[in-house]
């Protein structure tokens, strides 16, 4: 009789355990998840505070380094103004330092959540980061180079007395920018073949258009130009016909 009771108790305990176990497991999971969320929130909070401190310190450092004056001289300020950004470069960089810190802490915090899918996405994202950095650098350098070359072309063509100097300069800028964007997109692996093909077609098209425009549309001008060039090479002394004085 005693044995029968014991078995009954065991079964009841077993049943209770089986009922409670999922609850316990659920409770543990919730507790674990809450701990993760708490870690996530804590890391984010630390990131925000550290970001704020870093912004303050880097702003002081950049101002001490007179980075605004250098950016003014290096035409970075003018470039930013053209893009509608009126904030000084020191402030921009300080803000970038802050948000970069927050971003890094956010990534660390996401890892603390221990969600497998998120972890996989993070891994992929980290592998992609170098491409993004290289692309940003390409775009930045390309933009700077396009500005520099456009201005150099503008000055040279103005000094040569060419009326369409502005247009020539814009074409130079557009050419460099188009090349830059295609390089950056290629680096990111976006539409690799399409971009190369598109760039080739556009570039080839421009050259063909110019050749046709010059050869057909401005046939007389082309003829005169070539004739004058040939005549000049045959009679070098005629070069000084317009201005015969020496500047030095």
């Amino acid at each position: 009789m005693k044995t029968g009771n014991k078995n009954k108790e065991d079964r009841i305990e077993n049943f209770i355990n089986k009922v409670i176990e999922p609850f316990e497991s659920f409770f543990e999971s919730v507790l674990q998840y809450l701990t993760n969320i708490l870690s996530f929130a804590l890391i984010i909070a630390v990131g925000l505070v550290l970001g704020h401190v870093l912004k303050f310190l880097s702003l002081r450092l950049f101002r001490l380094m007179r980075i605004d004056a250098y950016s003014e001289r290096g035409e970075i300020t003018a470039m930013l103004r053209r893009g509608g950004i009126t904030e000084p470069l020191s402030s921009l960089l300080a803000r970038a330092a802050r948000w970069l810190t927050v971003f890094v802490f956010f990534i660390i915090a996401l890892g603390a959540l221990q969600v497998p899918r998120v972890e996989q996405l993070l891994e992929e994202f980290f592998l992609y980061i170098p491409n993004i950095i290289v692309s940003v650098i390409i775009v930045f350098l390309g933009y700077m180079l396009s500005n520099f070359l456009a201005r150099a072309v503008l000055i040279a063509s103005v000094n040569a007395g060419i009326r369409a100097s502005g247009l020539i300069s814009k074409l130079a800028r557009f050419g460099v920018l188009a090349f830059t964007v295609s390089m950056a997109l290629e680096q990111l692996g976006i539409g690799k073949d399409t971009i190369v093909a598109a760039f080739t077609i556009i570039f080839g098209g421009i050259v063909l258009t110019l050749a046709l425009a010059f050869g057909l549309g401005a046939r007389d001008a082309a003829k005169e130009y070539l004739e004058s060039r040939l005549r000049k090479s045959e009679e070098p002394k005629k070069e000084a016909k317009d201005d015969e004085f020496t500047h030095l």
């Binding site: 003014e72 001289r73 035409e75 003018a78 520099f148 201005r151 150099a152 503008l154 000055i155 040279a156 103005v158 000094n159 007395g161 060419i162 009326r163 100097s165 502005g166 300069s169 000049k232 070098p236 002394k237 070069e239 000084a240 016909k241 317009d242 201005d243 015969e244 004085f245 020496t246 500047h247 030095l248």
Partner: protein
């Protein structure tokens, strides 16, 4: 040129030993052969009866950046190695050089105790516009010495000064190695208190200019060196007020100069294109009032086009300040000066069209005085 140098040495310095150096950038046009063969054959026809020692000639290709400055550096080095008392440098394409030039460039150094002889030429009133509108007025206003042709290119100087020129090694990688050498030599001599004088050489006639010589590049090199030297010798020019004449040697006479053709309309057109397109660069250097004034200038009729010497002096000083503070890329800033320079040149030609040489010198004197008057503004805004 070699024969003129040989005859000049034989006639005016018979007791001294001399060397003629051709510092060449690798000519393939027969310069080397011409240099080797050149020799005075009949000294009696030049009234040189005494025995003449044979001429020692050195032909050497120079190294470094291609340009006149690198060629001069080689000459300074040879002068230093030989321990010469005096040295004269002349352009190899001169058509108007005579044996007297050697006397006029070297005698102030060898007989009068000067360290540096600058040339004084008679030139067509429209010739040497960079000299007349920028280099002479600015050098005079800054350093207080009236040297009419600071970038004449033909100089006499002591062996000691040649050694001094070699002391700063860094300059030979800059525009000084090109067109900037002349203004660098003159300014270095003045700013370092060497005794400076001028010699009247008569007319200066060159071989026809090379078509490839680019005005914008020439202007950039000369003005760039001038502005760089302003920064280097700042403490030497800030306290100088006004200017004083410089000793002049040689007999002054008039020469007939052939009329030359100028295209004023093209100069004004380049200025107008520059005004439309280069606003962003000019605005970084010039104040709003000047920009507004430049926009108010009417291009036609071209005979009435004027850009006064007062405004011109202001423009040059504003550009010097912008260059010193690096407000814009320096090369772009200097190259953007070309349309403004052409506007001033067009204005000057209009002013001087009916003037004789004396009247033209008066116009230039006025320009120099405006530069001297405005110098206070330059000092005030330099830093």
């Amino acid at each position: 040129m070699v024969r003129a140098a040989q005859a000049g040495m034989a006639k005016y310095f018979p007791d001294m030993r001399s060397v003629v150096v051709n510092s060449d950038g690798g000519s393939t046009d027969g310069t080397v052969e011409a240099f080797e063969e050149a020799m005075v054959e009949d000294f009696n026809s030049l009234f040189i009866p005494h025995r003449v020692s044979p001429l020692l000639k050195i032909y050497t290709p120079y190294h470094g950046i291609p340009g006149k400055g690198s060629a001069f550096r080689t000459i300074f080095e040879i002068a230093k190695e030989l321990g010469v008392k005096a040295c004269a440098v002349v352009d190899s394409d001169l058509r108007s050089i005579t044996p007297e030039w050697i006397d006029l460039l070297l005698s102030p150094v060898l007989k009068e105790g000067y360290d540096f002889t600058a040339p004084y030429y008679l030139r067509h009133k429209f010739d040497g516009t960079i000299t007349n509108s920028i280099v002479y007025p600015l050098t005079r206003a800054l350093y207080g010495k009236r040297i009419r042709q600071p970038i004449g290119g033909d100089f006499g100087f002591t062996g000691e000064l040649a050694k001094f020129y070699l002391e700063d090694e860094s300059v030979w990688d800059s525009d000084i190695a090109r067109f900037g050498i002349d203004i660098w030599m003159t300014t270095t001599a003045i700013a370092n208190n060497f005794k400076v004088c001028q010699s009247f050489l008569g007319a200066k006639i060159h071989a026809p200019k090379e078509p490839s010589s680019d005005l914008s590049d020439m202007l950039r090199q000369v003005v760039g060196v001038l502005f760089d030297l302003m920064g280097k010798h700042e403490e030497k020019w800030v306290d100088i007020e006004g200017s004083e004449p410089t000793a002049m040697f040689g007999f002054r006479y008039d020469v007939g100069l052939e009329p030359i053709h100028v295209n004023i309309e093209r100069m004004i057109e380049t200025f107008i294109i520059g005004r439309e397109e280069l606003g962003s660069i000019w605005e970084a250097a010039l104040p709003e009032s000047l920009i507004w004034f430049l926009h108010s200038l009417k291009p036609s009729p071209w005979q009435d086009f004027r850009l006064s010497s007062e405004i011109w002096a202001e423009i040059i000083y504003y550009f010097a300040i912008a260059y010193h503070r690096t407000l814009v890329n320096k090369t772009h800033l200097l190259k953007s000066l070309t349309p403004l320079y052409l506007a001033r040149t067009a204005s000057f030609i209009n002013e001087a069209l009916q003037c004789n040489a004396t009247e033209v010198e008066k116009i230039l004197e006025e320009t120099c005085l405006r530069f001297e008057e405005k110098k206070a503004y330059l000092i005030e805004n330099w830093e």
